[in-house]
Amino acid sequence: MNEPLISFRGVGKTFQADDKDVEAVRDIDLDVARGEFVTLVGPSGCGKSTLLNMTAGLLAPTTGTVRYNGRAVDGVNRHTGYMTQNDHLLPWRTVAANIQVPLEIQGRSRAEMRDKIQALMELVGLLGFEKSYPAQLSGGMRKRVALARLLAYDPETLLLDEPFAALDAQLRLNMQIELLGLSRRLNKSVLFVTHDLDEAAALGDRCVVFTARPGRIRAILASPLPRERDLMRLRHDGQYVRLAAELWDMITPTLAATRGETA
């Protein structure tokens, strides 16, 4: 067995909020292999995003260690790229100029940037919108731009925090198909946080289920689906339906337990 790309060992994180401590996650042990697509699900506030932050080196764990490629993560981890529910495009830059940001930072030549942008625009299906401003695009198109910008600097690992949560069902399916295809083709490792259990079952090679706060790993379900899968037809795939149902059965008791808090 190869060494894992990302490995969490006994990881815990406690935040100081006002005068009381809030424990976000506790005792996390998790390995992610190179090229693996791992989905993280669990009730709100169970620290899934905290794990992504620690992988990116934006937060340090309170206990335990996070290792990336064998080395403890210490400071910003530039092998990772982040995408959240908010696309964080720069409104004063056109689509092409937005995708160009990471290339400018890398100090690429003008010709190189032009070719790369052209290739990325084609990859995410945005040809013809180079000169548009983000405010002129629909939510789905903005997501594509954000994805293209993410791929522009070619990070090894994609950290995606509910990236498609704000999209409607059809658009989301489209984006899922594209993301899965791209991550396979480019052999990216993906940590994907979502609240949508069907999405978690459809995309993951493995689904990690968390408990309510402090988040601990409750179960890790390996997907019976093949790596290359047709998301359009999953709805009629017995294995997928069983996996999704299993996730639902695990999450619903915690939902019932937290309902009193939120109501």
Binding site: A56, L58, V76, N77, R78, T80, G81, Y82, T84, N86, H88, L90, P91, W92, R93, V101, P102, E104, I105, Q106, S132, Y133, P134, A135, Q136, Y153, P155
Partner: protein, 268 residues
């Protein structure tokens, strides 16, 4: 296409109504002056026009406009420049901002115009004094707006840029400064009338040239028409300065004015 024509028609009618209103107001003023209200208080449009024409004929008016405009413009530019620089600096360096906060607040609460006598002691009653006064007024407005703009840059966005390999300089030039531009312009826009306040109050207090002097001089001679004429010119100067800021805004922030979003549906 039809909708666009309807819109143009509506705009044309609006302009027509505006012109009509202005005409009625001026006519009423002309008629009321004398029979209803003593001309000494409100003068009359025809007298104001005559006063303007006389001052234009001697060429004096343009001299005074030039003085006030340069004071306002130079003061505005210097104050804005310093305000942006200080706003970015304190916006990025939290320690410095925390350290200076009470002092800045103390200065901010002081009406800047009250500093005029001090400036006269320091640098006399020439144009420099008006420029410094204007600059001081503009500085605070632009500084506060820039500071807010720099502070509202999303931490998440900064983190995303750092993951791309960005240095502090990259974050500053690619995110912080451009995103502060909107705020800077908000500051500049509200600064325009204040820049004129600085210049004109400075001239009212101590001067022998500029529109503030023209204003004070006319008032001292009980020349109501001259006072109104000076006010009219000051108003036009403010208009021109506003238009200048607006023009710079459109040129520097094309993403704000690209119209495509006007035609998009809104879903709630």
């Amino acid at each position: 296409m039809n909708r666009r024509r309807a819109l143009a028609g509506r705009r044309f009618r609006l302009q027509l109504y505006r012109l009509g209103m202005a005409f009625i107001f001026i006519a009423a003023w002309q008629a009321a002056s004398g029979p209803l209200i003593p001309e000494f208080f409100i003068s009359k449009p025809s007298a104001i026009l005559a006063s303007l024409r006389a001052q234009v004929a001697t060429g004096n008016l343009f001299f005074h406009i030039g003085i006030t405009a340069s004071e306002a413009f130079v003061g505005f530019a210097l104050g804005a420049l310093a305000g942006v620089a200080a706003g970015v600096l304190l916006g990025r360096i939290h320690f410095l901002a925390d350290l200076l906060q009470p002092f800045i607040l103390a200065f901010y609460s002081l009406p800047k115009i009250a500093l005029a006598p001090l400036f006269i002691l320091w640098i006399g009653i020439g144009m420099t004094m008006k420029i410094v006064l204007t600059g001081t007024v503009v500085f605070f407005l632009v500084f506060l707006n820039t500071f807010t703009g720099v502070r509202t840059v999303s931490k998440e966005l900064e983190a995303i840029l750092h993951l791309m390999g960005a240095s502090e300089r990259h974050v500053l030039t690619k995110v912080v400064l451009p995103s502060a531009v909107t705020w800077v312009f908000a500051g500049l826009r509200i600064s325009v009338p204040y820049a004129l306040i600085g210049a004109i109050v400075g001239e009212l207090i101590a001067s022998n040239k500029g529109l503030g002097f023209v204003l004070a001089n006319a008032s001292g001679q009980f020349d109501t028409a001259g006072v109104f004429a000076a006010l009219l010119v000051i108003m036009m100067l403010a208009f021109a300065l506003n238009a200048l800021v607006r023009f710079a805004e459109i040129r520097l922030m094309p993403w704000k004015t690209s119209g495509a979003q006007l035609d998009r549906e809104i879903t709630i």
